[in-house]
């Protein structure tokens, strides 16, 4: 099976990346040490090739109402161009089809950025709903764009060192806001819990961007570090923490669903009618070992399951996100079945780490 490649594939190979198949794309897992790359993002600046994700531009007089119908969060909140929103896209039954970021752009247009593994599914879904709406909505998948996430406390500064001409347009950006700067679309968003930019630009310009950022001291970082960073930041991974069988209430995303006005969005009725079957919280392991997806969690209120588990380089211990019985809250004790042993853990409210700081109580209780 031939894997798809991003415009930065040659750069990754030249840098000695360990390449793996991710959602049908050949992507860098790491460039030597995923732990080093993780620390570099938390302490300085790192960059990720995320060109496998898909931007879809949505235009036309009916664009806003269309998005207010297909997204669980409400784009009416994007009152001026440049604002962005994190949202789930739901199926009729309330299950999550994908999580995405939607940006308002000039002229009543929007851009959504969806996950690589769900890109085709999302596109088909949006196109069929657009046809059904019979309103003036045009969808344009932007396969011509590359995407690079530059993240870390020094990320923006190093980005401006590489591209001083973008400073005027992008320095004023608040978090979750975006601006055009030349042929770049620059958003102050990310998936690491650190400050930084996600940049979308023509594929032909990607290598130049990557090289200029390396020259300005931004380290290349791979998907493995991306996963440990987002886990520490308490950010969900679609396909692991949630899928079509899980509602936003059951994966910690109730805050992304906007019920504040009588808007008919897909999945609303199902969410209103069906009770939450489980809660979703974090786990901190007290013992040595690493929690992993699908391991069983035992609590005083019943059993749960780890959805995402791993090792936190910042805290030097194992952390996880897990489905837990609805009655369980932060502070509860739990045992996690790791390789045949019942290891001791405590339930915490994510995020674990943001902006380089540990936010949970890491003292080990006897």
């Amino acid at each position: 099976m031939t894997l798809r490649t991003t415009p930065l594939h040659d750069a990754h190979r030249a840098a000695g990346a360990r390449l793996v198949d991710f959602a049908g794309w050949s992507m860098p897992l790491h460039y030597g040490s995923q732990i080093e790359e993780h620390h570099r993002v938390r302490r300085d600046a790192g960059m990720f090739d995320v060109s496998h994700m898909l931007a879809i531009d949505i235009e036309g007089a009916g664009a806003r109402d269309f998005l207010r119908h297909v997204l669980a969060n409400d784009v009416v909140r994007l009152r001026e161009p440049g604002r962005a929103l994190y949202s789930c896209m739901l199926a009729d039954g309330g299950g999550v089809l994908d999580d995405l970021i939607v940006y308002a752009r000039p002229g009543g247009a929007y851009r959504v950025v969806v996950n690589a593994g769900t890109a085709e599914k999302d596109r088909d879904w949006l196109e069929s709903r657009a046809r059904r709406s019979r309103s003036d909505v045009t969808l344009t998948p932007r396969h011509d764009l590359a995407m690079v996430a530059v993240q870390g406390p020094n990320a923006r500064e190093k980005f401006w060192t590489a591209f001083p001409q973008t400073r005027a347009a992008t320095e004023p950006l608040k978090p979750f806001h975006a601006a055009e700067a030349g042929d770049m679309f620059v958003a102050r968003t990310g998936y690491t819990g650190e400050d930084g930019f996600e940049v979308m630009l023509p594929a032909a310009a990607a290598e130049g961007l990557w090289g200029a950022l390396r020259h300005s001291g931004v380290a290349a970082a791979g998907l493995a570090a991306r996963d440990t960073l987002r886990l520490e930041a308490g950010m969900n991974l679609y396909g692991q923490d949630m899928d079509e069988s899980i509602t936003p209430f059951e994966c910690g995303l109730a805050w992304t669903v906007d019920f504040s006005n009588p808007r008919d969005f897909i999945g609303r009725r199902a969410l209103e009618q069906n009770p939450r079957r489980f809660g979703f919280l974090g786990l901190l392991l007290n013992d040595r070992g690493v929690m992993r997806a699908h391991q069983v969690v035992r609590t005083d209120e019943g059993a749960g399951e780890i959805t995402s588990g791993g090792f936190s380089p910042t805290m030097n211990r194992s952390i996880a996100l897990a489905r837990v019985p609805p009655a369980i809250g932060a502070g509860a004790r739990a045992q996690v079945e790791v390789r045949g042993n019942a290891l001791d853990a405590v339930v915490v409210k994510p995020p674990f780490v943001r902006q380089g700081r540990i936010l949970v109580d890491v003292s080990r209780k006897p």
Binding site: S33, Q34, I35, G289, R339
Partner: protein, 129 residues
């Protein structure tokens, strides 16, 4: 990929070094550490324990996966490298110096059954594909 000529190997990716006092020192190969990725925990067998060749006698946990370590020979565990508790990453950076444990072999005949460097390289190559 480094495979020192002076060591012996198992098909489960352990290296074995014969010491002057008759004991053997055991660790994991460069190929094994590259497959595992960044090591975060090392569980060594207890000194004093008797093992049979092929017994599970340790665990290396990386960010990516957990790997069981098997006794390459039968005998008694006479030492374990406690340094690895604080610096597990040494297994990645210096796989042939970051020894895990030492065995006093009980069956000298087993030594000849271990692989030499060339024999191990064939296994590592096959494992990579």
């Amino acid at each position: 990929m480094e495979t020192p000529q002076n060591l012996k190997y198992t098909d489960s990716h352990e290296w074995v070094r014969q010491e002057a006092d008759g004991t053997v020192t055991v660790g994991i190969t460069d190929h094994a550490q590259a497959q595992l990725g960044d090591v975060v925990f090392v569980e060594n067998p207890e000194p004093g324990r008797t093992v049979r060749k092929g017994d599970e006698c340790g665990v290396i946990e990386s960010v990516k996966a957990a790997a069981d370590i098997y006794a390459p020979l039968s005998g008694e565990i006479v030492a374990a490298n406690n340094e690895l508790t604080d610096t597990p990453a040494k297994i990645n950076s210096q796989p042939y110096e970051a020894w895990m444990f030492r065995i006093k072999p009980s069956d000298p005949g087993e030594l000849s059954k271990l692989l030499d460097a060339a024999g191990y390289e064939k296994i590592a190559d096959a494992d990579r594909h």
